[in-house]
Every structure is written in C-alpha cells, then in structure tokens.
Symmetry: C2
Subunit: 329 residues, 2 copies
Amino acid sequence: MDQSALMSRADDLSKLGLGFTAPNPIVGCIIIDSNNNVIAEEFHNGGAHAESKAINSIKVIPPGATLFTTLEPCNHQGKTEPCSDLIIKSGIKNVIYSITDPNSVAQGGSKKLREAGLNVTSGVLTEKVEFTNRHWLQKIKIGRPYFTWKIAMTLDGKIAALDGSSKWITSAESRDEVSKLRSQADAVLIGTGTALVDNPSLNSHNPGSRQPLRIVMGKSEIPVSHKLNDESAPTHFLKSHETSDLIKLLSDLEINQVLIESGPKLATALLKLGLIDEIVAYIAPSILGSGSSFVGDLDISSLSERMDYQIHSFTQIGNDLRVTLIGRK
Amino acid sequence: MDQSALMSRADDLSKLGLGFTAPNPIVGCIIIDSNNNVIAEEFHNGGAHAESKAINSIKVIPPGATLFTTLEPCNHQGKTEPCSDLIIKSGIKNVIYSITDPNSVAQGGSKKLREAGLNVTSGVLTEKVEFTNRHWLQKIKIGRPYFTWKIAMTLDGKIAALDGSSKWITSAESRDEVSKLRSQADAVLIGTGTALVDNPSLNSHNPGSRQPLRIVMGKSEIPVSHKLNDESAPTHFLKSHETSDLIKLLSDLEINQVLIESGPKLATALLKLGLIDEIVAYIAPSILGSGSSFVGDLDISSLSERMDYQIHSFTQIGNDLRVTLIGRK
C-alpha cells in the first residue's frame, strides 16, 4: 500500500470542499479494503464530516479496511457525532491521517482511537496537506483569515494601460483559472474605486460553480446598474476605509480565506500591514512601459526594506506564467 | 541508435563555443563507431571547424562510422578546407546533420556528400538546434546581431530602490548565471549613465572564463578609476546616442549577439526600435513599490499597443524565477 499516494488522493478530494467549509477545515477521506481497493471517497463540504460520509457510503465495512483522512478525526460533539466514535463503531481497525488537529475543541480523536485498540498512523504527507489547509490552519493559529492577492499583470508589473484599458492583459486560460479560484474562495474583495471603474461581476464563470461572497470596501456608492448589485452572488458593502473594520467583518462572517482582486490602493494598504499571505501573479509576456502598477507606494526607500516572499510554485497557463509566492521571510 | 539523443549531445557541445565563433556559427560534432560508441566529440571555437577537429582527433576512422553535426557541413574554402571534402576523404560514409546552412557562401555541403555516395540525413532535432544557433541564424537572415536583454528585478519590475540601492535584488545563484551569460556573449552593452552610477565591471566572475567585449554607449566621460577602464576585458567606448552608430559598430565588429545590461534608458530605446530579440528576466519574489522600473516610457497609451513576447522557458534559480521571452508576435 502506497500511503503517500492514497493520502495525496484524499488531499485532492479535500480541495473540492474549498469555499464550502468555513469556519471549518477542508478534509478528504478514503477507505480501502484489505486488497487496497478504494471503496469510499468523500470530502467535507460544510455538512457531514468526510469520515462520516465515507463510512456511511459503505453498506458493510469489510474486515481489514483502512481509513485515510487528511485531518485527525475529530473528538468533538458538534453538529455531528464525533468522527472518532463513529470510526470505532464502524469496526474499522486502521486509521491513517496526515495533520494533527490544532483546534483544542476538536482534538484528541487519535488518542481515543488508540485507546479503543485501533492502529493509528499520523504524519503522512504532512507538508502537502498543511499547504492545502493553510487558510484554516493560519486562522486557528493567528486568529485572522488568510489573504491571497491575485494579480494579472504584464512583465513590467502593469495592470492597466495609460488610457485605463485592462481587458485582457492575461490569456483566456489564466482568466478561466481565476474564475476557478473565485469559486474556491470564501470571499472575494475589491474596493469601491475598482468597482466603479471596472464594473466587474467577480463571478466564477464556470457553469454550475459556486459563487463566493463579494465584499466591496469603501465609501463610494455603487450604482444599482453595476454588476456588483446583481443577484448573481451575495454581496457585502463595507462602508469603511479601515482595515480593522474589514478584519472584524471577516471574523463575524467566520471565513477562512479571502481572494483579493482589488486595484493597487486597497491591496497596497493590506500589504503594508503585513496581511498579504500569498500572491498569485499571472504574468503576461508583454511590456507596457507606462500605466498603472499593481502595487503603490510602500514607504520603502532602500532595497534592504523590500518585502520578501518565497516562490512556492510556478507554471505556464496559456501564454502566461503563473507564480505563487508565499510566506514573507 | 538514438539520433535525437546524439544530436542533443552535439548541440550541448556546440554551446561551449558561444562567444568564440563570431562571425561564424557555433557547431558541435560527434562521431560514433558502428557499435554506437562515441569516438570523437568536438565543437567549433573560432579556429578549425568542429567536423575537422573531430575527424582529426581519430587516428583511423573505423568502418561504419557516423558523423553527427549540428550544422550542414560547409562547402566553402575559407580559413580551412571545406568540411564536405574532408569528410569524403576521411572515409566516413554516414552523416547526420540538424540544420541546413542558410549561408549562400557555405551551403551545398550535403549535396556534395550525397554525390560522393554518402548516406546523408538532415533535419534531426531542428527546432532545438535552431534555437541554440538563433543568434547567428538571425544575423544571416536579417543582417543585424541578436540582442538579449538581461533584467534583474523585483516582482513589481523594479531594478533599484528610491535611494538607488540595487545590490543585490536577485540571489547569488542568479548572479552566477548572469556571469556565465556574459562569458558566452560576444559583447555586453551598457550606457554611460549606468557606467557612472553603478561602476560595474561587467566581467564574468567564473574563474578562467572568457571575458566579452564591453561596449559603453553615450557621451559622458568615464573616469579612469572606474572598473570599465581596467584591463580585465576589452572595452569599446561608443561616443554616440544614435542606435544606427551602435548597429554599425556591431556590424564592423562582426559580432553575432549582444547581452544588454543597461539601465532603462538605453534598453527602452532599443525596445522601441524593435531590436530586443530576447528578454532574460531574473525575478526576485520581492516587492519594492517604488524605485526605478526596468523599462521606461514606450509611448504606449492603450493595452492593445503593448509589446508582446512569448515565453520560451522558465525555471527557478536560487530564490528567483528566471523567465526567457523571445520573438515578439
């Protein structure tokens, strides 16, 4: 049995829950029989837990079955029965999980499973699964949601030409991917300035996909005719310029992660406050030379004060390069 | 026999000649015996041709040998005997080459080989070898050298902070690679403005490596104490702001390719004239927000006028991303 390959499959499954599970984590679960055949595949989508869905999808649990889950099974009576109890009752004797639950309310599941005599293995594919669940893990750890800044720009960092034209800097393939990012976000955020100038829908264009909450921050009125006032997705107008009000709103909404699609003004303010956890830059192989830059003044005068990130991954998307930067050093 | 793998090896060999062969192409040559063992590996470095060096490195050419060469063997009596004649005399019966010689003076070698009864195969790994020899091929085709613009920048396209600090935006690994690029260039080019402010050596730092011709363009005097006046590499001071004078100089020097390491002023002028054939951008995962951009005003007001390139390749170098852009669409 290739534990890493099966956990990687559970990890992929878990991502199908992105956007559905806040304030809870995303979780993927696989059950295999003693011949290593997969007999259940489920993910948490905000309702029943992945483990519970997986167990309940099988009529009779065969002897020697093994349950893979990306997160330590919970020991918490919430909306549902604790997964640890459910696993014990199911007769499954082998449990393999990736990351330990850091949440003091829910943790302790592995202890209970071991005390009930189950074989429990932890720490499989931890780094990968931690990255997949980085939004929720950070929120548990530092108490605020995870901010991802999406940028579509030319090689010279421009997001619009001098005359304001910005459609389309990046290729159709990049825009399709951004549409998918939106459907996976708990919320997308822009300022009223961008809302007025660009009149974006901030929708996920993919048929049948989930629409995130749209948050529009700023004091300007957005005309009723503008797309952000349509019924295509829920929209919250935050009549404030204060980042603290934004953080409070996100906390009240109990969301895990926000996709920032704003212009440079709002994004630069968040960057200066150290709130940008991740940058996803779609770089078109083009040069404009003039126009609007994706970032504004950061009060940086010397190179040593620059804001450093690390390259997490990069790939070509259509004609563009997509680079993901994380975790300032 | 894997023709592509052997041609790829010849292609790699040819690159060892970069910087040494102008005005002629780089060429790699491999000879294998009838058991597919490599019995000769040579490259053109400005002296004898690769084919001639390879043949002369073997005491007795074994029966059934095959000669691989990245460029059609020449049919031209220049400094050396035509390679086609030499191959015929050597007794080699099989010749495999990649790209056809586009040079009217030298071409016709394959015809002569075929007429002498040799088995000649062409067109192996053409795309790759054409890219390797793009500098010379372009010079033959459009009559001017190939310009590669090297940029070391932050994600937001800055090459220096507000206070002028620019050491070092990119990682040591990226700078080592740039040092290698310099040793492979026929010439490196900057303007007197950058020469005065940065006082660069433009040397290849790698021990024992070749130093390219340094070309400094502009009308300002460079103090004797500045590094560009040292003896570490040949230096040409072009006292002009006219691009036509630059093209004439490069033509007189018979060079194939120039590495541009200038600031935005000179590079932007060349970009506006459509002279930038390739961009090698080292992108540090950092943001400055203010400072000097790598490119100046291009008189572009609308997105539709942007200068488009294509992504040729990309990879991580140290902490940075290196992206190579070629051929404007």
